[in-house]
Structures are given as structure tokens and as C-alpha cells.
């Protein structure tokens, strides 16, 4: 923790009687790419603006590069920022936009020009410098905004939903470009997004937020494979849930019988929610007699999604249906089709248990 580049301690933000952020603590390492992920209203943008000093927190401490910046105005902090709306100055050319932060720093004109050209080629817009923002596509405009934010070589790059205004294809492309750029420049970056795919593909670490608190901090793999809370489980990817009553440290009962899950600290007779991902449903031979975990069910519907089938299964005796992602091979081999029978098992090590939330 000592070498954290950005350290946030006990940060709280109130808007009148509404608490937007509740006692947030968080560290970001130098060169790291961190995503604040959460549904709208979770406080992620508020946190970003507090880090930038644009909306100062009610309480708590922000430290950047070992300096307490908690109450500094934005102009005395060290960051560059990119907004969803690009916020490019419409009456200035691309060059002038990028040079905006450089000019008044009394840098020599040739120096500025060199730096602007360097930045523009960095974002692949070397030949667009004389154009006005309105003459560029959305993706190009966002790259200009990025170049402008990076122009002054800030220690921290803040991205506020930078890709949300773009269409899907441009978004995917720019996602990678930003990631590469960030790697190359090794600039500590915080991005706010509500798009989990964006977070999973770009971030070194993801901070999942909800209702003004941090639900989980972890690598994309951690977050996906081991969601720390039911909220994270539900928010990231697709998840099946089954309500059970805990029977032992790794067993729960429900109408359909007993389900085993990975060991947990839940106490017997507590209500719990078991969660597993559709791709973890293991299809079995219907006639397989050896597998004692085997569950029988009916295929309610099957949706063809290219590489795999998403199948809705109504297991015998269960109160709810579940989703299973099955490769087309397997589906063919085990004859999984709408209206037919199916057998499957749920590997206990892939089943997570959460205490039932109120």
C-alpha cells in the first residue's frame, strides 16, 4: 500500500441529505488502469469528480503521488480528463485543441507544434490537425480529446464514460486503442463506465460500486469468477440464482433437492442464494446412471447465439428455470432441443453462495 500512486481514504460525499459516496477507501498503483464500474447513480462519477477536484468531497482524504490534494482546486492538481461529450472547443482546430493546455505554459511555439504532432500521431490523427472538431467522426473527436488530455503529460488520466456516445463498432475499436496507449505511456488511468464489457476488457483492476459504496475491488478475472457479493454476481455477466436453506457448510436444500456448493461461512438454517453461470452447467448423458448429481429437466427454449446455444431449462421440481450455455457440439451430441428432456449437473466448485440480502 505504501507505493500507491493515488490513495483515497474514508471519502464521503453528501448532496444535501443524500449520501452519494459513503466512506470510500481505495488505492491505485502507479501505471495502473482502474475502472469504476456500476449502474447509474452508484457514485462512480461523483468519485471521479472528487478525485479531479471538480466536486469536492464532504469528508475524507485524497492523496496523489504522496501529496494531500484533498482540498486543492482542479487547476492545482495533476490530471487530464476526457468526457463522454468530448468537450472539444468547437471553434478551435484539432491542433489548437490539443495545444490548448500547452500554449500558456510559455513553451516555445516550435516545441508546442512538435508536441501536438507527436500526440496527434499517437492517436492516429496526424493529418487531421487543421480540421475543426465538427468535421471529424465521433471516434476521431474522442481521440482528439484524449490527445488534449495527455498533452501536458499528466500523472493521472481520468476518463468519464469516454466511449458511451459512440456506436458499438467504433467503441470496440477505441477500447483497444485506449488500452494500448495507456500501456505504452504507462499513465495511471481511472475510467468510469457502466459497461461491464468495457471494464472487463480494459481494466487492470475493477472497482464495482453500488449505492455509494464499493462492492468489490479486483482483477477482471476475480470479479467475474468470484463476485464478492450478490450484487456483483448479478451485475457482471449472466448468473443463475437458486434460493436454498443452508444445511451444512457446503450444502443447501431447496424444493428440487440438495445442492452442493463451494464451502462458505454460512450457518445452517440460514437462507442463501446460490449462484452459477450458464456456461458452468454441465450437460450429461440422459441415461448416465453413475452421476449422483444428475438433475433432469425439460428444455423450455433454445436460443441460437452462433458459437453456442443459450438454453432455458426447467429442472424437475425446481421453482424456477435456469439458463445454460451449451456449445453446439454438445447440444448435437446430447440432443438438446426445445421441448425435449435434458440431464445436467452443477459442479459444486463453480457454485457460489451468498447470504440472502434483505
Amino acid at each position: 500500500m505504501t507505493d500507491a500512486f493515488l490513495r483515497i481514504e474514508n471519502l464521503t460525499k453528501n448532496f444535501g441529505s443524500f449520501t452519494a459516496l459513503r466512506n470510500i477507501s481505495l488505492s491505485v498503483l502507479e501505471g495502473e488502469f482502474v475502472c469504476f464500474l456500476g449502474p447509474s447513480g452508484c457514485g462512480k462519477t461523483t468519485l471521479l469528480r472528487a478525485i479531479a477536484g471538480l466536486d469536492i468531497q464532504t469528508q475524507g482524504r485524497v492523496e496523489q503521488a504522496g501529496i494531500d490534494i484533498s482540498i486543492l482546486p482542479p487547476s492545482e492538481r495533476d490530471f487530464g480528463i476526457v468526457f463522454q461529450s468530448y468537450a472539444l472547443f468547437p471553434n478551435l482546430t484539432v491542433e489548437k485543441n490539443v495545444a490548448y493546455g500547452l500554449e500558456s505554459r510559455r513553451a516555445a511555439r516550435t516545441e508546442v507544434t512538435t508536441r501536438v504532432n507527436e500526440l496527434l500521431s499517437l492517436v492516429d490523427l496526424a493529418d487531421q490537425g487543421k480540421k475543426y472538431p465538427s468535421q471529424l467522426s465521433g471516434g476521431q473527436q474522442q481521440r482528439v480529446a484524449l490527445a488534449r488530455a495527455l498533452a501536458t503529460s499528466p500523472g493521472l488520466l481520468l476518463l468519464d464514460e469516454p466511449l458511451s456516445a459512440l456506436d458499438a463498432k467504433v467503441r470496440t475499436h477505441l477500447r483497444q486503442e485506449i488500452k494500448h496507449l495507456q500501456r505504452r505511456l504507462a499513465v495511471t488511468t481511472i475510467m468510469v463506465t457502466h459497461d461491464q464489457e468495457e471494464a472487463l476488457t480494459m481494466a487492470d483492476r475493477i472497482v464495482v460500486m453500488n449505492h455509494g459504496i464499493i462492492e468489490q475491488i479486483g482483477s477482471p478475472e476475480d470479479i467475474y469468477a468470484a463476485p464478492a457479493s450478490e450484487f456483483v454476481a448479478q451485475f457482471i455477466g449472466t448468473m443463475n440464482f437458486v434460493n436454498v436453506v443452508v444445511a451444512s457448510a457446503n450444502q443447501g436444500t431447496h424444493q428440487g433437492g440438495v445442492l452442493e456448493f463451494s464451502p462458505n461461512s454460512l450457518r445452517p438454517r440460514e437462507s442463501a442464494r446460490l449462484a452459477f453461470r450458464p456456461e458452468d452447467v454441465e450437460i450429461l448423458e440422459k441415461s448416465d446412471e453413475h452421476n449422483r448429481d444428475k438433475v433432469l429437466g425439460k428444455v423450455v427454449s433454445a436460443e441460437y447465439l452462433g458459437a453456442f446455444l443459450r438454453v432455458t431449462i426447467a429442472p424437475e421440481g425446481w421453482e424456477s428455470t435456469l439458463l445454460a450455455d451449451i456449445s453446439t457440439d454438445i447440444a448435437a451430441r446430447f440432443v438438446v432441443e426445445a421441448g425435449g428432456d435434458v440431464a445436467f449437473r452443477l459442479p459444486p466448485e463453480k457454485i457460489l453462495a451468498y447470504q440472502e440480502s434483505e
Binding site: L54, Q59, G80, F89, S104
Partner: protein
Amino acid sequence: MAAAEVQVRDKASPLKAKSSSDDKLMRLFILVIGAYLVVALAMPLYVMLSKSVLNSDGGFVGLSNYFAYFKTPSLVYSIKNSLFVGLVTTVITVSIAFVLAYGFTRSRMPGKPIFKTIAMIPILVPSLLPGIALIYLFGRQGIINWALFGHEIYGPIGIIISEVFFTLPHALIIIITALSIADARLYEAATALRASSTRIFFTVTLPGVRYGLISAGFVVFTLAVTDFGAPKVIGGDFNVLATDIYKQVIGQQNFEMGAVVSVVLLIPAALAFFVDRLVQKKQIALLSSRAVALEPKPSRRFDNGMLAYALVVSFFILGILGMCQFAALFKFFPYNLSLGLSNYQFDLMDGGGWDSYFNSIEMASYTAVFGTLIVFYGAYLVEKGKGLGVIRGAFQFLAMLPMAVPGLVLGLAYIFFFNMPSNPLNVLYHTMAILVISTITHFYTVSHLTATTALKQMDAQFESVAASLKQPFYRTFLRVTVPVCTPAILDISIYLFVNAMTTVSAVVFLYSPHTTLASVAVLNMDDAGDIAPAAAMGMMIFYTAASVKILHYFLSRGIEAKTQAWRRSIEN
């Protein structure tokens, strides 16, 4: 441990951001601009209101001035007269404007731009001018006075015709806007349901513009009730509130009673203003909904009908204007109708002569330049400023207030405030500066709204980006905000210029022998019976305002062409 203590202390009081020098500068600017409105508006109004409960020696007399007022039948009668003129004008103007706006938006009549331009002409002349034309048309020697069938033009008839002329453009702008936001899909749906065109009109068209009509109604009512030019020129013995203030203050130097009448006049104006604000909000809600623009379909009968109607309205407006021009040129109406320029010898008349004309141009120029600076910067600080939220809120309120304050009331308030021996600002009394300040303040609200609208359309993050790039706010203001808002800035300056040229109400109390104004000269020449020179001066004002307007048109076109490359995105 120390950290824990800090934590505890922090819990008690929220963190306060350290201010950068930039923030401090901005706060200073906010304070300065706030002080402007306090001095130029709030304090004068306060002094005026307090005058209405004082006697002429400055002693507190409670409401006795009001009792005295309501015990004077001729004064109270004016309330009735004002309401009558206001209501009748409102009904007539809104009806005429609605049909005309309907023609402009729902027909394919030819020549729309020309007719629209003609309909805007009354904005360019002082409200005294139609009255003068009416005397020539319908007075005892009037060219077509038979058309009144023996009725007297001096009095309510003359006032109302003048007010209709004067208020028509204001109503028209509002109603055209309201009609333009109509959603074509509603009409398609109604047609698909086989509704008759009458039914469509009453179930789709009218409900769609109801807020526009209400808003136009209140604007017209306020203008008609608070206008002083028309009743002054053609009111005859028909007294109204606006002329009563003038009569009390200028005629009898009875300032306290003038203050009382001002308060009485303030009530309907303020009421109309607040209702209008309320309605405008709903209108804006309609505006923001996504609508498909309505393309009128050609219909020969309807289009021709609308064309004929537009011709009639244009004839009325141009007729008034043309009559004034001829009135100015006739050597000695009605006995010598040969034309000449003898009525342009203003130096031989009351009102300040040609000096007053040049004073007016000077005053209008200062008003345009300083007014635009103050208004735009004020709007910028309210809209984009940081810190001092309470003061910015109060500023926004003050900026809206002038709309509800009739010019005469403002002018009287200025006399009270700026002529107080104890007020160090009384050096401004009788200077050009006080005319400029009063005019800027009088026309503050519309200018402020224009600026605010333009600023709201700008990306809210510009200031954050600039801060992150460590650029002072004023640099972004000059390099980005001002260039992007140039069209709005030009609009504001032209609005201020034209109004400064034509206004009479506030400045009539404030001009000095050095600073006589053309519009006031029209008034004073008419007062002295020199009606033809009054018409001549009125037309000089018109030509000046029109030239500036034309200049503005070409300037805007030039700027638009020059900035076309980057403006496209804003329009999208």
C-alpha cells in the same frame, strides 16, 4: 492518532475546497457584477417603494399616500382605463398575431420573409410614432377621418390602435415560435382518424399553442398597460396609470404620489410577469419533446386568403409609417402639402434639436457596448461560474426582475436613488452614464435570457477541461465562450441598441439639457404642438434603427459564413 483527531474534526464540518487564484478572481467578478444589479436595480426600487410611504419632507406617513391616492377619483379612474386599454389591446393584438403567425407557419403563401420583416417594423420606432400617424390619419384634419364615423381618435380608440401597432411584433414572435414546434405526427394521426380541419384546429392546433397564446397575451398586456408613449400623444383626456406617473412627477413634481402610482402600476406588470414565467416553463417542456416538423401542404384558397391577410396587416403597418414620413415632409399640413425639409430644423424646436438625435446614437452605442459586456458576462458567471451559489441565485433573480418593472417606474426610482444628496453616486445624475445604466437595466432581462440560452447550449464540461489543463477561466471565456456565442452577443447588442434608440419611458425622467434624446425630443416636440417635426424625428429614429438592423443582418451573415466550418456541429 493525529489522523484520527482530524477525522473527528472533519466529521463536524464538511471540507472546504481551497480556492485557486482563478476561483478568487471569479468570485470577485461575481461580486462586482452582482453589485451592478444591486446598485442599478435593487436599491433604486427599494428607495422608490419607501418613498411611497414617506411625505415630501421625508417623514414616515404609513399608507396615507395610498389613501390619498384612492380618494382621488380621477387617479383611481386611471386604473380602470389602463385595464380597459390593456385587455382590449391584448385581445386584438393576439388575434391579429395568431392569424398572421398561422399564415406564416401553416400556409404556403408567397413572400413570407418580406411580410415577416414588415411585421417587425414597429420594434424599430418609438411607441409615440403610431399616435402621431393616427392624428394625421384620423384627427380633425385627418386624411381619412371619415373612417371613424365621427368618433374621436383622441382617447381609447387612438391608444388601442397605437398599442396594437406597438405590441404586434412581440406577440407575433411568441406565437410563431409556439406554432413552429407543432408535431406533424399529431396532424397525420388526426387526419388518419378523418377529423375535419375545423376539428383538427380546435383539438390539435389550439391546444398546442395555448401556452404561446397565454404568454403572448401577458406580454402584450404588460406592454400596453405600462406604455406611456401612445397615451401621451393620442390619449387626449383619457388618463391612464402610465401618464399619471408622468403627470404627477413632471407636471406637478409630486414625487411621492408618483411613487404611489408606480407601485400600483407595478402590480399588474409583476403579476403578468410571474404568470408568464410559469407558462414559459411549460412551453419549454413542450419544446424539448421530439417532434417532426410540419410541412404545410399547398392549398390555393387558404394560401391566397393568408396572403390577403398578410397584405392587410402589412398595409396597416406601412401605412402608419408612411403617414409619418409624409407628415414630416409636408410643409404645413393641412394647408400646404408641398414637400420640404423644413420640419427637420429640430434646432428651432423643443426637445434638444439635432443634438438629441446624435445623443441618442451615442447613448444607444454605449448601451449596446457596455450593456452587452455586462449582460453577457453576468450571464456567463451565473451559468458557468463556480462558488458563491447564493449570490449567483440572487443575481439570476435580479436579472429577471427588470421585465416586471415598467420603464417609468425604473426612471422614477432612479431619480429618487441617484438624486439623493447623501448618495455618492449622485455625480451620475444628469449624465450620459445614468441614461446608459438605466437603459441597460430596463432591457436587462431579455438580453440576459438570450445570453443564458446561448451559454446553456455549450458543453458544460468546457470549464472542467480548461481547469484540468490549468487554464484560467477568463482565457477559455475569451477563446471559446465568446467566439461560440458571437451570434447571441450580436443579437443582444442590436436589441439593446434599437431599444435605446426608441425608449422613452425610463429616460424621460433622467435626461439633462446636455443629454436630450431623440425619442424624448419626439415627445417634447409633440407636447409643444410641433407634431410634424416630432414625426420627422421619429422617422429619423426608425431609419437609424433600421440601418443598424440591416448592418447587423449582413454582419451575422458574414460571421456565419466565416465560421461555417465549425458551427455545423452546434446546429446538429
